[in-house]
Subunit: 254 residues, 6 copies
């Protein structure tokens, strides 16, 4: 049995607080149990050099943890003067995932900077970040539409992510907390778009390996967990969430 009597296919308590900080165009505090991430979306009226004059926008993401978000304090990356490989991997994943649900030609020559700052970590920070980042971007987009900065909705669906894994005793588990993650043989992060489409699948077994059938079992768990996250996002986005669900006939409003 898992902590708090969770079933293997059960998410932790997930919460999304919209507009958590006041300056960004969109922001949320997302919690997956004790994992808490502030996600914000900042809209800038220009694009990186490689896109100038091409009539389209860009979305990029940055990820960081407060030094004491974890059980042991980590040295700040600003003090070390460089960004760790793990951080780069995560922020590249978040940016790539968001770009799969945004039609960049519909946001004009703008950059949406997404910042995911983990204030407390207990496993699954990158998937919480993806899920919260989508909500922050959707909030920013809905305001751009309201203020008529953009004319058409650039979002093509909901986007969420969850971690799954295989415990040492062979069980597939959904949404691992830090303790479970440390003990797991296989760790997989799955990002999906509404409509049952895969965006990213990253499975790794540092010391262990896994079979095709175990892969499928984990993907089944991920898929069901992500549907719940889509429903939560829809609720938090209110009217804009409804529109989003309808426009695309997304599973979220099925």
């Amino acid at each position: 049995m898992r902590t708090n009597e969770r079933r293997p296919d059960q998410l932790r308590h997930v919460e999304l607080i919209p507009d958590y900080i006041k300056h960004p165009e969109g922001s949320v505090l997302i919690s997956f149990g004790d994992t808490k991430v502030i996600c914000s979306a900042s809209v800038e009226d220009r694009v990186p050099p490689f896109l100038r004059g091409k009539g389209q926008g860009w979305i990029t993401a940055e990820y960081a943890m407060l030094p004491r978000a974890t059980t042991q304090r980590n040295i700040r990356e600003s003090s070390k003067g460089k960004v760790a490989g793990r951080t780069m991997e995560i922020q590249r994943l978040i940016g790539r995932a968001l770009r799969s649900v945004v039609d960049l030609t519909k946001i004009g020559e703008r950059t949406i900077w997404v910042d995911c700052d983990v204030i407390q970590a207990d496993g699954g920070t990158r998937t919480a970040a993806v899920t919260g980042a989508f909500a922050a971007v959707a909030l920013a987009v809905s305001r751009m539409l309201e203020k008529e900065k953009i004319k058409e909705n650039p979002l093509t669906g909901f986007l969420a992510a969850v971690s799954v894994g295989k415990s040492a005793d062979g069980n597939a588990l959904l949404d691992l907390d830090f303790k479970e993650d440390s003990a797991a043989d296989v760790d997989m992060n799955v990002v999906m778009k509404s409509g049952g489409r895969l965006v990213e699948v990253q499975g790794t077994g540092e010391e262990a390996t896994f079979s095709r059938s175990e892969l499928n079992e984990m993907l089944d768990l991920a898929e069901s967990g992500i549907e719940e996250l889509f429903a939560l996002q829809k609720e938090v986005l209110g009217e804009f969430g409804e529109e989003l669900a309808q426009l695309q006939g997304a599973t979220a409003n099925a």
Copy 2:
């Protein structure tokens, strides 16, 4: 008249939420109006090289802002690969101020790392950081005493800070918000220890200058504001706050 009908000698609404994040030995979320800072104190069982074997401890502080804590997004210092001069100035100030109220020989060969992360900025982040940092350290210290990791209370008083300034029309103001700060001629940060003792006075007029009597007027305002902050800290620290007030006959409980 100031925003929200504040009087010139009135603090913004100040709030201290103890144990805001779960991993650090001590942590608070401190708010001065819309300025919000997560302060945490992490205890490490070793000291920097220059203190090894000297039988005393060390306290050091780091300060950062989330990229979108401000109205315009700032580039992360980790991405730039270096820490800005302003950041260094602030974290040196916080560390120095804390060391003035801690008897380092009473914490043994330990380092207390204080992290002040601004999640939302509206002026006065450095003084909020000092005030919150003291509370986080006091929480960590009270637990070290409870767990008998240390025998004697190393704190010699309360510590708090506030900003004061001179507006362009010549009025001295307490606890400036961002808008007031931008318009002010003189900007001063005052750090005090309970008992009416000055720890740091940093007054600067980038384009303007100020007279000795204006200096005194600003210091009077700061002193009264800081007394209120001591009272708040005492309350949040509960029983340990009471002890601290009594032990030293601090003004806070006068």
Copy 3:
């Protein structure tokens, strides 16, 4: 039809030249068509600090490209003073993958540094690097056994990797070259251990997405391609390759 009349499930011409450079304990030049990578394994008689005194070894990998390995010249990472996110991702992948087939307790307190330097790139450099890195490590290990520096074979199987993708017209393709990769909707890297075990699955569709059945189709292609790579590795490793195949009853020698 693909370049050089390749079938969708056909690898490019793959070649492994052992002992390509003279100083490392093990080295190969691996080619997948025009993609050429020098892989070397260097054995150092100490471990990183976090492993000291634990009686086990470590394997870590670094990856780089010559500036003009690509059609456009890239600025050297040493000149920029930092390692790109893509590079970090790849080298972390290579190291992790290798550790999944090495019993680190059997190499003693040693570090095996694996260097993968791409001298010419035409798609699939990271999977060529994993496949070549394994061969370089196996060569180094066989010499350590010969010289009796270690007593038991620490390798638990063969390791190889290949890229698969989905072209814009919906076909699954094995081992994409640069042109195919640029045009593909989905890009997936699969690392496997002999015996049909998955080590890493990294699938991503930056703008496109993919279904579960497309995922499975790509994994089938990858699996068959990797079996061919195991056979090649076995051949190049000579007697040690035979032993390796037998000891584990690997699919490679089936």
Copy 4:
């Protein structure tokens, strides 16, 4: 009694050698006893990006010490690859202070780079740097006026700085040398503009604290020392010093 029989309110021997190095538009070697700083002002015909097209100029300062300016050799900041917090604090102070006596709209779209390089240190390097920097800037300005590069004198007064402190036995001291500074309980740097106006007050007691009356006592000492420095600057600047003193009715020529 202090070294060399100095009274508590007595400056060390202060000397200003104008045009100490030949290339800069203005330069001095300033000595406060054994503290020696080369200050130079370099005029560049452009402004930083944030001021382009605004019709005004900029002044910025950099500060450094030769590695063996001190009793122990310090590692060069260029070798460490980063500028220390202390250095940043000092150069920000110097720049800010200079900008308080220069009307930037009168220097056109130019930047004045001020370099303060300590060749020998014996306490009070930052205040010597401010005092010498003003003289270097004034020399550069007087030449710009002579050559008719600018039409009006942009200087609004003299600027000088001095350190004051409180010794462990409770005495206020003016212009502390290194030995006195190391033993002092409170260290304060005061920057003033002629006419009795405060520009910066930075008082700090790392382990000790200070009262309002001690603050006032130290400010009194600083004020009288700074008046002497204004007289010296006036003398060194010759005719331009006279003009400067008259134009503003500065205390320096009272």
Copy 5:
């Protein structure tokens, strides 16, 4: 007697493989015995800022070694985040030497980037790099002429380099391998242009010193070795080599 029965005035086996990698405009693999360097020349249609609009081009070089090109593995400069002094010295030398045989006004506003990557080192890597770099540049130039990107041959002669030294027993030696170099008292690198002209002479005796007559003896050896290298370059460059030799009446075709 030297390794492989080499005479004091004998080069190691030197080989130049043209077009070793496919993407660069010109490339060679050059070997001096076991020293192997990939040299490539990349043509970019723009010049560095200091040359913009001046109607001339630029040539610059970069040099690096694979981490395990040497007997002990070296940490990558990209991981250290800075380029070593030795590397800078070598790449500055290569660039300077190439510029002495190229009429930069004849290549238009283009930059030729030369990359010299040592894949295996056994002494003399910098002189092999210069010799190979010239061949790579000449190949690139001959193609620019063929494609009529430039009208006139910008090369004014052949360029090659060799190391010479004085062994501990006082003999002058040509083209030292690593073992000889480590034991030598004096190490000298000589770069020459065809026609018997010196381009660079860099002689150094870290612990030993040398006389004028020893200098001359070493220069004699270098001169004869370099003539052989010119002949090799001419051969590898084919028809363009012939033209080059004739146009200038270079010693190479005497």
Copy 6:
């Protein structure tokens, strides 16, 4: 005719002021005309890791220029966060040259750090630095002997350097100033030890080239200039200079 009616074989006015700054164990201000360099030698009682426990010492050098030592202000290397290639080349040259006249086994496990800081530049800074650095080291050594920190004189001769060049009209010139250096076709730096021994010869013709006979002509000039520098060093070193000259039968006192 050269500036100030100098003959081609004439040095500029050279001056050595011993003990120019008070903290280092040895220091000089050396001037070659308007080129002025502060050279200091700092003795540290430990050696770098690669020499620990080997019973010998080490000498290393660092070189820098004040930002406005030159006609145009240069950005500080500490601000850029990296040391330029030119700087590295020079400091490696200075260190290497000094080590050729010091018997490192006679200074014990100590490091002599030599700092050469150019406060005003007018050509020939690196050769002035070598010449001044030797004097600073000799002063430090003579004090170590006096204080009996070391028993035997570790210096094996005088060391000095000078630049020579070939002007565009074909004349060989000694000790070029900045203007001459900018116009010269060939630039050569020669470092010698007393007794007529060459330590370093670095000749380079960026766009021009030079013949063997021109090389010899320049070396003749260098040799005669360096003899004058030895005489000056001997004089400045006083009694220790006499001893040094006698002990080795150096040409300096011939």
